[in-house]
């Protein structure tokens, strides 16, 4: 007896966001899903999720050898790093992460950050994410300058939180960028941040949501279930939760000991970390994610193949 096709249908839709403008040679549109990832009808699964490869503003000091070796000698040259990420590893977006401005990690100033931003923008044609250090005080001082340097490029700026959203929201509004609204594995706060930001006049259609990601073994299932609930809220018509979702798999994976440790009894270190990263990314993608931040090129290749298998090959 043939089984009837099961197709979920929903009244809502994830917002579409088109990143990239100005001197960008490419635009990237994310979102648009009208169903869950395996909801049955491939024509309404929305835009292909995209991969943003991390580029740090200052050479990382604590990266695992397996990860650092994949990049060779570009880690102290963000422009060359970005170029490699796009041209060799197939990044859809470059995520320029300003770790170096953090008071505990170099305390670089706005002038350096603006210079790095300009170099990276000049080196690649894909849209760019500009992501602060996590130090509210330093981000509020530096990110507006960085944003201004990228005016017109329609970048994705990150991140605003419930306790620190005014400065960067005003900046995104002034410079015409998109904004990442962050919540600490908390769907209620996620909604609240969206309300606070939209109250300042930033359209809900300019937002991307970020729940602090957990990697495999470190809370991945919490991130999964919250992202899944966000997606179901969007699909059932909650306009305040209809923003596309970004998650940060690269950073979270490469700080856990299972991906870094040089312990042969845990298996080949050259494969272990990339597998950890790919497994986390593929799992989270099924909860409804539109941008994945990643680091290791071998993991990126696996995840791109997975995305092709579900959403169809890139055009």
């Amino acid at each position: 007896m043939p089984l009837p096709a099961v197709q979920e249908s929903y009244s809502g839709r994830v917002n579409e966001v088109t990143l990239g403008g100005g001197t960008r040679k490419k635009q990237v549109t994310i979102g648009g899903a009208k169903t869950i990832v395996y909801g049955g009808d491939r024509t309404v699964t929305g835009r292909r999720p995209v991969i943003a490869i991390d580029v740090l503003d200052a050479a990382p000091q604590d990266w695992a050898p397996v990860l650092a070796e994949a990049y060779g000698n570009v880690l102290s040259d963000p422009a060359a790093w970005a170029k490699k990420a796009v041209e060799e590893f197939g990044a859809d977006l470059v995520c320029l992460k300003f770790d170096g401005i953090h008071p505990d990690k170099g305390n670089l100033g706005a002038a350096e950050s603006v210079a790095v931003t300009k170099k990276v923008l000049a080196a690649v044609g894909v849209p760019v994410i500009l992501w602060g250090s996590g130090s509210d005080e330093k981000d509020n001082a530096v990110m507006p300058k960085v944003s201004e340097a990228a005016k017109g490029e329609k970048v994705l700026l990150g991140t605003v939180t419930q306790d620190n959203y005014k400065s960067l929201t005003a900046t995104a509004l002034a410079d015409g960028h998109f904004l990442i609204a962050q919540a600490p594995l908390d769907i209620n706060i996620a909604k609240q941040v969206n309300i606070l930001v939209s109250d300042m006049g930033l359209p809900l259609e300019s937002l991307v949501m970020f729940q602090t990601t957990g990697t495999l073994g470190y809370g991945m299932e919490y991130a999964y279930s919250i992202q899944e609930r966000e997606r179901l809220a969007a699909l059932t018509g909650d306009k305040l939760m209809a923003a596309p979702v970004i998650c940060d798999v690269g950073y979270e994976t490469w700080r856990c000991k299972e991906s870094k440790a040089d312990l042969p009894q845990w298996g080949d270190a050259a494969k272990r970390g990339p597998l950890w990263e790919a497994t986390t990314a593929v799992s989270l993608l099924q909860s409804g994610v539109d941008i994945v931040r990643m680091r290791h090129p071998a993991a990126v290749a696996v995840v791109k193949a997975y995305i092709d298998s579900v959403w169809g090959a890139a055009t």
């Binding site: 209620n188 609240q192 309300i195 939209s198 018509g237 909650d238 306009k239 305040l240 939760m241």
Partner: protein, 275 residues
């Protein structure tokens, strides 16, 4: 919740006056205020304000739909008045016909007439669990009538998503009617099991408190109770802020809206857009 804004009704003195003066300003204002407050539909009822009910409903429809994009709920017990309203109504945005009993002594086929108008306009229909004998007292009879209504509507092509069952709430102070709220909630429980998805459940909320003291409190409390049993629509005064707060809170407590610290505001910002 699918809130049907009740204020454009000739029984209210401001609307009656606007109809008498043929003055659109009051109607436009009510349409805008109710739409902003999150009404999913605006009820349009001529009431007893005009002898020419068909001409008057046309005028009200034209004024209201020009003022706001919200779909309308055409409210009359006379099919020809609904028909007149439909003739000028922008049904592309949706329309709700309000309302028909299962049957009437004077018109045994009244349900089919309303259902066919709903079907041909692509709209939705409110049907009351009452018949030629009047409003039933028991739970069972309400459920039985709802089943008959659902079947007849589906035969005509109206799917449960487009059908609103009104189990009819009587004033609680009418002799013998104090058991009705409980019976209605039991009926709602059963009606919602009849199909998947179930038909919507709506009610003319303010009826429950006719002639009582503490009208607002009774209305609000009963709405919360009925929503907990699955009522997902009501004909209400959406300009009553406390009532809207209550609906937002019930939906949040029932896990239909994700909690946020600004959940009351969040509900208002999306309420009208959610349906």
């Amino acid at each position: 919740m699918i809130a049907i804004g009740e204020r454009i009704n000739g029984q209210f003195t401001d609307v009656k006056q606007a109809i008498a003066d043929h003055d659109p300003a009051a109607i436009i204002s009510l349409a805008k205020r109710q739409a902003e407050a999150g009404a999913a539909y605006l009820d349009i009822n001529v009431g007893t304000a005009a002898a020419d009910q068909e001409g008057t409903i046309k005028w009200l429809v034209e004024v209201a739909q020009k003022a706001v994009p919200t779909p309308l709920c055409l409210d009359s017990q006379k099919p020809q008045v609904i028909k007149a309203g439909l003739s000028v109504c922008d049904t592309a945005r949706g329309v709700l016909l309000n309302s028909t009993p299962l049957n009437k002594k004077s018109d045994p086929d009244v349900l089919a007439k309303y259902a066919e108008m709903a079907q041909s306009s692509g709209g939705s229909l409110i049907a009351l669990t009452m018949d030629r004998e009047g409003v039933p007292q028991s739970t069972d009879r309400r459920v039985e009538m709802a089943a008959e209504i659902l079947t007849k509507c589906m035969e005509i092509g109206i799917t449960p998503e487009r059908l609103f069952i009104d189990p009819i709430i009587l004033p609680v102070n009418v002799p013998g009617a104090q058991s009705q709220p409980t019976n209605i909630m039991a009926a709602i429980d059963q009606i919602r099991l009849m199909s998947d998805p179930p038909p919507h459940i709506t009610m003319g909320l303010s009826n429950v408190s006719q002639g009582t003291t503490e009208r607002s409190l009774i209305n609000r409390t009963f709405l919360a109770m009925a929503m907990a049993h699955g009522a997902d629509s009501a004909i209400v005064d959406v300009l009553d802020d406390t009532l809207v707060d209550l609906v937002a809170t019930v939906e949040m407590l029932m896990n239909k809206q994700i909690y946020s610290d600004s959940f009351l505001k969040a509900y208002r910002s999306v309420a009208g857009a959610m349906h």
